[in-house]
Amino acid sequence: MNKKTTKLEAKELNAYYGDFHALKNINIAMEEKNVTAFIGPSGCGKSTFLRTFNRMNDYIDGFRTEGDILLDGRDIYAKDVRVDELRKEVGMVFQKPNPFPKSIFENVVYGLRIQGIKKKAVLEEAAEKSLRRSALWEEVKDKMDKSALALSGGQQQRLCIARALAISPSVLLMDEPASALDPLSTAKIEELIYELKNEYTIVIVTHNMQQAGRVSDHTAFFYMGELVEFSKTKTMFTSPQDNRTQNYITGRFG
């Protein structure tokens, strides 16, 4: 057995929104082809932290970070890092399905198009491949030129996953990807996460403790901007080390 390598890492990371200290001295290392769940009460900083890995916080006025975020050992906040290159490597799926008001096909190939890829054959191949991976191909293959907005919520979310996969990232960030979906669609997304971890490093923010338990290998518990506990999911849910973790996962607050 070869030892798994570290894919994502944060070292003494602090983040601020203006004067508000949102993330406090975070240290964490996440393994390649692994699912890590971020849990914690609302406002604990888990989404902020997730968004530092593809620098989605860059657009927020007054947001700044100290410390390092490393992807494959490289600091992604370094001056020579191009954000568009970073985001090809680190894909993201949001809480609410957000398909573009375009056709299903154009949604999936959007990331490729903005890279300047125009060849129809290349785009079609990529679209089919990504849609198959996100388990949506069979449902949409006959209506690729129909509006993506006509799909159900669950289908839209899988389309958003396909869209993220189409540009071949190695990391997939998911910000409560199933919180706006019905139980059946949620189950499909979870199944998908289980499949995808063979190829991708996945970080998922969730409010749903059972979901964290079902899909993740490791779990990180955040509270008031601090990383309280990070361990194997099984360990965390059976014998949490910190009182706050115990209180949270047993539903005493949050």
Partner: protein, 285 residues
Amino acid sequence: MTNSEKNRLKDKAFQVFGVFCTFIGLIVLAVFLFDIAIEGFSRIDWDFLTSLPSRRASRAGILTAWVGTLWILVLTAIIAFPLGVSAGIYLEEYSKKNRWTNFLEINISNLAGVPSIIYGLLGLEIFVRQMRLGGSLLAGALTLSLLILPIIIVTTREAIKAVPRSIRDGSFALGASKWQTVWNQVLPASFGGILTGIILSLSRAVGEAAPLIVIGALAYVPFTPDSPLDEFTVLPIQIFNWTSRPQAEFLTNAAGAIIVLLAITFLLNGIAVYLRNRQQRKVKW
């Protein structure tokens, strides 16, 4: 009378008053339109539309005026569209929120309230005199562009603001730059709204006489303009001119010209309403 009867009476009274208030503007407009129609419809015929102005009322036509109006319409659109939309995109998507942009925003709103004759004076100094454009179509169109620019900027921003944050996030997360996101997502989704704003502002520009009179547009132009540097007149100026003549026949001419001008502005407004409705049907977030 009991209290409850009194209350009911007051209620009724206000209803009647409210109906009166609601309809007063409409009634005045309707009476005006009716009056104009009776006066002017009989005057509109092919000759009226295709004749040059003349000292004799019965031979005078509005050819130079409506051609001038169309020229002004198109030139103003060409100038104001890219300027206003670009400024709106910059303010909404690129500029950081700070004191400087606050200052900009307040002043753009102020500009929208500046009387049109002031724009005429500005145009006279800058375009007519400094840039030596004279009383040309180009000078007129530039002046009217300044006039409607604040309106276009504000409506562009409103339309852009209506595009949800999540669409931008989705685009950025796939590696798109700000410009790619604006071009591929934000503009297509807000284009209907932007176009509506532009058309409405153009329909305002088409009705303006004051700033064009100030820059020296002429009431009597014996030819139709061939290039943007030619002198011109427009329908509102022609109407103003005719209504200031003592002879009754010229008033009839003015009524005819008013009908044509109203037809143009109603057409523009109609297109704007149509586009807005179509946009609302097409995009549901």
